[in-house]
Symmetry: C2
Subunit: 194 residues, 2 copies
Amino acid sequence: MKRTKKERQQLLQETIGENPFVTDEDLAEQFGVSVQTIRLDRMELSIPELRERIKHVAKSRLTDEVRSLPIEEVIGDVIDIELDSSAISIFDVRKEHVFVRNGIARGHHLFAQANSLAVAVINDELALTERATIRFTRPVREGERVVAKAKVTEVNAKKERTKVEVKSYVEKELVFRGDFIMYRSNIRAEGEAE
Amino acid sequence: MKRTKKERQQLLQETIGENPFVTDEDLAEQFGVSVQTIRLDRMELSIPELRERIKHVAKSRLTDEVRSLPIEEVIGDVIDIELDSSAISIFDVRKEHVFVRNGIARGHHLFAQANSLAVAVINDELALTERATIRFTRPVREGERVVAKAKVTEVNAKKERTKVEVKSYVEKELVFRGDFIMYRSNIRAEGEAE
DNA sequence: CTACTGTTAGTACCTAGTCCTAATATCGGA
DNA sequence: TCCGATATTAGGACTAGGTACTAACAGTAG
């Protein structure tokens, strides 16, 4: 017996996790045990059969119309935020963000990062972009990490407008700049101190 | 016979297109024909069996890490384009495009539609957004159809810059406007007439 | 030695098909 | 009305990739 039951089951779980399309027979061969053993293992680990696994993946893909834009509420990871003052987020450019032809990041991803950061920094129930002037100062490529820094430059509660300046950098080098004029509902977000 | 063969096959194709998880038996019941008839129909239309369909969906989902943005090259559907002159695309705002809290479309989607249209309209090997001024004139909501119209306002080959003006409408009402200054490589795209 | 765990083997059954043959049904045209 | 073509249905044999269950056996611990 090369591996103990535990080791085998551990590996089994990982293997199926990586490739849900593998059959019990494949696995039996791979681990040098019988098909029945694999089935018992799956039982114990409550891993469903191949077809159910595939169905699950397929369904999650179709339900993904909801998730569709991998962009969730804020594009990039917010690493620091001070409401109505400043915020920072990072965004790693991967192959799905670039033009196939030249590997340059598509502008709307940089915009999305900056824009969502501008929305996030505003301490209000509702914040909408009303106007923006943006500049792409250097093409960004696959694999680069973009750090966006937002700064609130003007809060005018009466006018229901806030100006936010966002500068995005790759290694200290400015790659994007956006000046956003945000509309805000002027109603403090819940649970906020005066 | 309620429907002709052609009608049934047409419907069959649509039905499976909408829901790949439907079995031959389900379909047979739905159309009031035998399972065998459904199978013959699938043969003629070369639609694979249920499990293959599911597998295909599942695989495309896993491979999707690559395609990730369902948005392919252009966001929205281009319905008309005249290179270096004008282009029109439509974009249907669905629930994945809006803020959960208020149902208003997230700005970057409108920007993405406009920006990618500005890129598409340029008849060049390489086109990148260099600068843009944008205005969101009215919030767009779930269910609305946004029609973006791009117009090339200035082509200056020497300077390698092109100005594109994009106006997006919902039912004749302006909801977004963007003025893009695009960088271009100044090398004609392949297969283009002088 | 016995009890227990782990592993293997084999059977019957299931779903959602394939492929193939054969029998009907339906319809248009001479 | 009969002929032939197309359309539909039925059935049998087979497949993959299982489930559920029973039975047998090996190795180890008490």
